[in-house]
């Protein structure tokens, strides 16, 4: 049977199989597995059927714990059920995995294996998660390539049904889950042929049903539990053979033979590496090279079935000649005798060698090593180093490979110049920006080459850690043979640089081969471009005799209506130059791909792309290379010379894309990093930045309030300080009675940190009366004024901050004089969350500790290389940490408990030492209410004085108090996160914490989707909105978290939207912090996942409020003490129709285009919901609390 060749990634390969053999799919987003759930949901929404001709039910749960519970329930009720997860998600499933395995229930969990958060979170791939689940009783089956993912997924589903052992089928996160490869697609008939309905029927027969009742899941006692656990042994004993049979059957069907352990290499090899997952591909490639080119007798044993571990099959697969074995583990188990696979191998071989029938004449030498944690590169050079190590008489055991461990010296050296790839593989690298469509174009190119030519094709995409202005590097390989290179391209035949300014940021040509081809998108003409190149590039081009092509892609894009997207243009250039396909055929294929990609979105977009293709070739030029380099342009340093050493020596390497060179000794031992490092990473990503016109400005400070990146700031200071100001620095007289006579006012833009989002420009209310298109802020090109504004900003930063004790914090104008202690984060340009975070940092930052739920805010708040939480001149600033996704409320709660305890203890000692320290100061410290900045200032002064006195006391108590005296100054605990955390996975904890009565402040930045993982539906998603996991539109209303919290009565609750009412936003933050109990602020946060013009994000917020979708209110339990209603509505009754808000956003509008009937129905429901909710709020706010009802109740009780 002819099977289709397709180019897909590993996630799609796994989802394709599991969807076809499942009836129920329970999902929850977690990187890098989310794609599997997303595809399953989309397919179900489109009515795609499984092999039994029915559409599976796909359901999202509130957490992975929930998903595994739902899987357990669905399995117990007879449905064939699957789920997908990774990392912490798999850990949350472990309790249910024990149950499912204990009950011998057939299921497959597909896991894109990922690091576990330890001293730091990482979204990238290794086996830490799978290894943490290896004790559950689940079978573990590993795939190492995209083809294997599809094949072994099917084999696993077959095996679980026949063996009754549940399985985790895993493959490496990102390297396999996101790598795009050309593979042979199994047909529905193949899948049908592999699944025997006899076992399906048996599975269903074991289901719970009242028609044949029994109970399962009893509680047992010491008498029988043990015996019960031993009943499963024979199933585990039989399982390997069942899996092998499934593999054999699969081989008959497809010709691809897999074995539980696949050996590759010399049959008489003496040195063997044992490994599983994608790393095995690189080892195989190296073994082939070493055998052919170096005549080395080496081999690799690939583990497919890791659990149940069949010692028998394992031993049979190893060549009898083996003398030395290196076992490679992609995980770390600190404190163990060795990593898991190593221990299994040692056990298996030792058991055999001490048995009556030893397999080897001499016990092989076995060493173990760790590699590839968090997708660390694992290259043939590293493989070779391991084989070389095995050659030694005393090879290093418990080694590491791929890093420089200069602390405990575990690492093996390797020669980075050792490479195995030959000329039969075309290797291409493309440097681009996320925004320019480079990755999308390359994905299309792979499809064209993979599906329209005989070539095999592979694509892997590396993104930087920023959400705005991020750079992407695409790694593409093509060749006549299957591609096993599971590592980044080391030397490239073709390098495309799609953004001219990236030449300064990276060593773009570092990996080009002699005679290679360099394609540059240049804003300069073919005659000018050479002189605009930095000298280093000119030299490489000349020395390596490169073929150098340029195109002004931006102009072509502009002329063809493509905006900033140069994807199609650069793709056309690539095909035109590379000659992979004849030119005309390439053009035809590109156009076919365009039609396929954009067809659903209308003909116009297809037409524009066609036009871009047609205009490209005439604008593509080959440059004649001069004989000598002439440029005087040198590459700028990565960070300023003024940066601290740690930034210069370590963080700068990461910024430059050379973080692999950071040694172990350069890393902190416990995940602790210095604050305030984003200031050193000048990204210069804005094309346009705001320029301030002091004459028009009304000094309202709204611009600085809404700035997501703290890149526009205001200061009021003494005019005398302008004496040494740069010539272009601007100021004007400060308006307002609160300022001193000689005060002047400056709004200054951080030109190099601004992302050009335009929120400030949009929100600016001051218009130039002579020309109304101009405002007090106007967007201007960044490059021409970059240098000038850099000097201005430096001068501005050195001006003194306004005295906090004199600021009127309750106003926009006042609070924006406070220094932001959250700056230049990597959040999306125009982010709707960060203005709130920044506001917290301004109002309370110098005494704040932040517990941050995993999600967008933990990424822009804590992703290396640089972090945005900053410090003030006194060295104070927010202390920040992230625990997990699900436990953030509890994490912050723990902080509160700790701080309260420390403060209490400090007060207790203080009282004891009263006589020695002085009564007056003690009383002052103990009685200071610290209810305003002046009080806090005074308290700090007193505590400083106290510490001085303590230094002089020689008592144990004084020493202890010295360490905790700072807790006598009020600390503010802020628990922050998104709606995925607060409404879904962390809701249980959040509920418990707000019920505790403890003084914590919870900020929920509600984007109404899981933004960080790509916009999956949460319970905060509005009815009718399209989101991933809700491809047909969310059918149920948004959960009213505020109402639920108000129900407790003693929780301060506020619902805010800065764009609708900034004054209310500020009041809410101040009241929440002042409230001596739990506070919950739910903040509308416009988001890139809404499909809106982010520059108009504040307008979206206003529409949300005006429509009644997002009523503004504050519920302050303190009002009760005065007999007042605690609830105050801060917005008016709905004044526009819901549709006039929601249909300005793609997330809602797209349903009217994909399913108009459903959209109309959901709109009606949602509109009714808005009116109903408003009525309820109105009634609650109107309730009369006077007359002291509590007293009446008490009196009656007494009677």
């Amino acid at each position: 049977m002819e099977r289709q060749k397709i180019t897909i990634d590993g996630n799609e390969a796994a989802a394709y199989i599991s969807y076809h053999v499942s009836e129920v799919v329970a999902i929850y987003p977690i990187t890098p597995s989310s794609g599997m759930g997303e595809m399953s949901d989309e397919w179900a929404a489109k009515g795609k059927k499984n092999i039994w001709d029915t559409v599976p039910h796909v359901a999202e749960l509130q957490s992975e714990g929930g998903a595994s519970g739902a899987v357990h329930g669905a399995l117990q009720s007879g449905s064939l059920t699957t789920t997908f997860t990774a990392s912490q998600g798999l850990l949350l499933m472990i309790p249910n995995m024990f149950k499912i395995a204990g009950e011998l229930t057939s299921t497959v969990f597909h896991v894109s294996a990922r690091s576990i958060a330890a001293s730091a979170l990482s979204i990238f791939g290794d086996h830490s998660d799978v290894m943490a689940a290896r004790q559950t009783g689940f079978g573990l089956l590993a795939s190492g390539s995209v083809q294997e993912v599809m094949d072994l997924a099917l084999i696993t589903h077959k095996s679980t049904l026949e063996s009754r052992i549940p399985f985790v089928h895993f493959f490496d996160g990102f390297r396999s889950s996101h790598e795009v490869q050309k593979i042979e697609q199994l047909t529905k008939e193949d899948i049908r042929a592999m699944i025997d309905d006899k076992y399906v029927a048996e599975h269903k027969k074991r289901a719970l049903t009242p028609d044949n009742p029994f109970i399962r899941g009893t509680a047992q006692n010491p008498d029988v539990y043990f015996q019960g656990r031993e009943t499963v042994n024979k199933f585990y004993n039989e399982c390997p053979e069942i899996v092998q049979n499934a593999m054999n059957e699969f081989a008959k069907l497809t010709g691809r033979q897999y074995n539980l352990f696949d050996y590759y290499g010399a049959p008489d090899a003496k040195r063997v590496i044992i490994i599983m997952g994608s790393g095995a591909e690189a080892v195989e490639e190296t073994v082939e090279y070493m055998a052919e080119r170096m005549e080395e007798k080496v081999g690799v044993l690939k583990i497919r079935l890791y659990r149940p571990f069949s010692v028998d099959h394992f031993l049979k697969a190893l060549p009898k000649t083996v003398e030395k074995i290196a076992v490679l583990d992609r995980t770390k188990e600190p404190g163990s005798a060795g990593e898991p696979v190593y221990l299994d191998v040692v056990t298996a071989i030792s058991e055999n060698m001490t048995s009556d029938e030893p397999m080897f004449s001499k016990m092989p030498k076995i060493i173990g090593g760790r590699y590839g944690l968090s997708s660390k590169e694992f290259t043939p050079a590293m493989v070779k180093a391991v084989y070389d190590e095995l050659k030694k008489d005393k090879p290093k055991n418990h080694f590491t490979i791929g890093i420089n461990d200069d602390v405990t010296f575990t690492s093996l050296d390797f020669d980075p110049n050792f490479q195995v790839e030959g000329n039969d593989v075309t290797r291409c690298l493309f440097y681009g920006l996320g925004a320019d469509g480079t990755v999308g174009a390359n994905k299309n190119s792979i499809k064209i080459i993979g599906e329209e030519t005989e070539n095999y094709a592979q694509g892997y995409f590396v993104y930087d850690s920023k959400k705005s202005g991020s750079t992407t590097v695409s790694h593409l390989r093509f060749g006549k043979k299957p591609i096993h290179s599971t590592y980044l391209i080391e030397t490239a035949n073709f390098i495309g640089c799609h953004q001219f300014n990236l030449l300064e940021k990276f060593d773009v040509l570092e990996r080009i081969v002699d005679g290679g081809t360099f394609l540059l998108n240049s804003p300069f003409s073919k005659d000018e471009v050479w002189d605009k190149l930095p000298r280093k590039y000119q030299e490489v081009i000349i020395n390596k005799k490169l073929n150098f092509y340029v195109i002004d892609g931006i102009t072509v894009a502009k002329n063809t209506g493509m905006g900033a997207r140069i994807n199609t243009i650069m793709q056309t250039c690539f095909f035109a130059i590379s000659g992979i396909l004849p030119k005309d055929e390439a053009i035809e294929q590109i156009k076919k791909a365009i039609k396929k990609t954009y067809g659903a979105k209308g003909e116009e977009i297809v037409r524009k792309n066609y036009e871009a293709v047609d205009q490209t070739l005439e604008n593509l030029h080959k440059i004649d290379i001069p004989e000598k380099a002439s440029s005087t342009l040198e590459l700028p340093p990565i960070v300023s010379d003024n940066a601290p050493d740690y930034v210069k020596n370590v963080l700068a390497k990461m910024m430059e894309g050379k973080g692999d060179n950071v040694s172990v000794s350069q890393m902190p031992i416990d995940g602790t990093f210095p604050s305030a490092t984003t200031q050193w990473e000048k990204r210069n990503i804005a094309l346009e930045i705001p320029a301030w016109d002091p004459e028009v400005c009304i000094q309202c400070n709204k611009c600085t309030l809404v700035c997501p990146h703290a890149a526009i700031r205001v200061k009021v200071y003494d005019e005398a300080l302008t004496a040494n100001a740069p010539e272009s620095f601007k100021w004007t007289k400060a308006k307002g009675k609160e300022f001193e006579e000689n005060s002047v006012y400056t709004i200054q833009v951080a030109a190099e940190d601004c992302t050009g989002c335009e929120l400030c420009f949009e929100v600016c209310p001051a218009k130039n009366k002579k020309e109304v298109r101009l405002k007090a802020l106007n967007m201007v090109e960044q490059i021409p004024i970059r240098e000038m504004e850099r000097a201005n900003y430096d001068f501005f930063l050195n001006l003194p901050e306004f005295d906090r004790t004199k600021v009127n914090m309750g106003t926009v104008k006042g609070c924006q004089l406070l220094q932001p202690l959250f700056e230049y984060s990597g959040a999306c340009s125009g982010c709707g969350e960060t203005p709130y975070v920044k506001l917290v940092s301004q109002l309370f930052g110098d005494r704040t500790i932040v517990a941050n739920a995993t999600g967008c805010s933990s990424i822009y708040g804590g992703n290396l290389p640089t972090t945005p939480w900053a410090v003030n001149k006194d060295g104070r600033g927010p202390a920040w940490s992230n625990s997990l996704f699900e436990d953030n409320a509890e994490f912050g709660f723990g902080m509160r408990l700790s701080i309260d305890k420390q403060a209490e203890y400090a007060r207790e000692i203080l009282v004891k030492l009263k006589d020695k320290i002085g009564v007056e100061i003690t009383e002052s410290i103990l009685t200071n209410a610290q209810s305003n900045e002046a009080d806090i200032y005074e308290q700090r002064e007193k505590v400083a004085e106290l510490k001085e006195k303590l230094e002089k006391l020689d008592s144990n108590e004084a020493k202890i108090l010295l360490t905790i005296a700072d807790y006598l100054v009020k600390k503010s605990v802020w628990i922050m996160g998104g709606d995925g955390w607060a409404y879904d996975i962390g809701y249980g904890g959040l509920d418990h914490v707000i019920a505790s009565g403890k003084n914590v402040n919870i900020l929920v930045m509600d984007t109404e989707v899981y933004s960080n993982t790509g916009g999956q539906c949460s319970k905060a998603t509005g009815m009718g909105a399209v989101a991933k996991f809700a491809a047909s539109g969310k059918p149920t209303p948004k959960k009213d978290l505020g109402m639920m919290a108000m129900n407790y009565g003693n929780v301060y609750v506020a619902k805010i939207a800065m764009g609708a009412n900034d004054a209310q936003t500020i009041k809410a933050f101040l009241e929440a912090e002042a409230y001596d109990g739990p506070s919950l602020i739910i903040a509308y946060s416009h988001c890139i996942a809404h499909g809106i013009n982010m520059a108009k994000g504040m307008d979206s917020q206003k529409l949300a409020v005006d429509s009644g979708h997002w009523p503004l209110f504050r519920f302050n339990p303190d009002n009760l003490k005065e007999g007042k209603n605690p609830l105050k509505l801060d917005s008016k009754a709905p004044k526009i129709k819901l549709k006039d808000y929601i249909y300005t956003e793609t997330r809602y509008k797209m349903l009217t285009k994909s399913n108009p009937e459903a959209a109309a129905k959901l709109l009606n429901f949602a509109q009714a919901e808005v009116y109903k909710n408003w009525k309820l709020y109105e009634q609650m706010a109107a309730f009369d609390y006077s007359g002291n009802g509590n007293q009446e109740v008490e009196e009656k009780t007494e009677e």
Binding site: T31, P32, S34, E38, D41, E42, A45, K46, I123, F174, H178, L433, G434, A435, G437, V439, G440, F461, Y463, S465, K466, K467, S470, T472, G561, G563, R565, Y598, A600, K601, G602, E603, E604, I605, K608, K767, K769, V772, C828, I859, S1011, N1012, T1013, G1014, G1015, V1026, A1027, K1028, A1031, I1088, A1089, G1091, I1092, T1146, R1147, M1150, K1153, S1154, N1155, P1156
Partner: protein, 332 residues
């Protein structure tokens, strides 16, 4: 009483045709209009912008921010198909045809004879009985001559006519240097009807925000005068049918339209304010008026007060001082 009329070849039971408005966007309200007696209906317009921009907009927002960050390479699910403006519109026409028996006139609104012209054919294929081409252009470009602008209209009409076999009306603005000449050119280019006149949304100023804001003002019956004049002038000078639109609010306005020479009177504002039932009222009042004034049919009054039929044709040619001149003439 015979209220029937013929408009670009379509036999209509009376001359009242609701023009493009939100009412004709909704199947239920079109059904209500039919029940109230409307003789035909002009669908809301399929805008050129809708065709050209909607697809670009959707692509932009669905792809914005994608492939930038490893955890979120996309932000939306990708449905297999979108019903974009044109498809939605064509479905609407087809649904209308299934729901009502009166003729359904499609409406294409645009300015160039680009790719969107092919949608004329699609509208025909969806079942429309005729097509109204609503061409508008605000010539802000000082380099464009009047002739060039006029040719733009002619070319667009020709391009559409080449694509369809159903009758095509063209809706015009009154801002032509020589309306008679323009009408004749369009007549020659094959227009089956002229719809006079288009009302543009005139921008307004918001003095608080210092912004230019769109401002939809419903028509008043005072606005009837302009089309009344030009239909009177054009009547019998061109082959094409004529529809009077703008300012039709009562049976008197309908009757005036007919007397000027229009084949149908189109209305929207009146129906938006007072409901679809107004069609029935106006029809009843028209019949009553005709009975009282002894008109047996619409045909009888059609063009009876056009320029060629009135006592003083010059009344249509003077812009000012009409009364003074008239008085002077009377005196002599």
């Amino acid at each position: 009483m015979d209220l029937s009329t013929t408009y670009m070849g379509l036999k209509l039971k009376n001359p009242i045709v609701p023009s493009a408005s939100p009412l004709t966007q909704n199947i239920d309200s079109v059904k209500a209009l039919e029940d109230a007696g409307a003789a035909a209906v002009v669908c809301h317009s399929l805008f050129e912008e809708q065709i050209t921009h909607e697809s670009g907009e959707l692509d932009h927002y669905l792809s914005y921010g994608t492939e930038s960050y490893a955890e979120a390479t996309t932000y939306f699910p990708e449905p297999e198909d979108f019903k974009l403006g044109p498809v939605e519109y064509l479905d609407h026409i087809a649904d209308l045809k299934k729901t009502v028996d009166i003729p359904v006139i499609g409406s294409l609104n645009g300015v160039s004879n680009g790719g969107w012209v092919k949608y004329a054919k699609n509208i025909q294929d969806a079942g429309a009985d005729a097509l109204e081409l609503n061409v508008y252009y605000i010539p802000t470009n000082a380099n464009l001559t009047g002739t060039e602008i006029e040719n733009m209209y002619i070319d667009t009409l020709k391009a559409v006519k080449e694509n369809v076999s159903i009758p095509v009306a063209i809706k015009l603005s009154p801002f032509f240097t020589s309306m008679s000449n323009m009408a004749r050119k369009l007549d020659k280019a094959g227009a089956d009807a002229l719809v006079l006149f288009n009302r543009f949304y005139q921008p307004d100023f918001d003095l608080e925000k210092l912004e230019v804001v769109p401002n939809l003002v419903l028509s008043t019956n005072w606005e009837l005068r302009l089309p009344l004049r030009w239909i009177s002038i054009l009547y019998s000078n061109i082959k094409a049918s004529m529809a009077l639109t703008s300012g039709v609010h009562s049976h008197i306005d309908v009757i005036k339209s007919m007397m000027a020479g229009a084949d149908v009177a189109m209305m929207a504002s009146e129906l938006l304010v007072n409901g679809t039932g107004r069609v029935a009222d106006i029809l009843k009042d028209t019949e009553k008026w005709m009975e009282e004034n002894e008109y047996a049919s619409i045909q009888m009054m059609k063009g009876s007060m056009s320029q060629k039929s009135v006592e003083e044709p010059a009344a249509f040619e003077r812009a000012n001082y009409m009364k003074t001149l008239h008085s002077y003439k009377t005196l002599i």
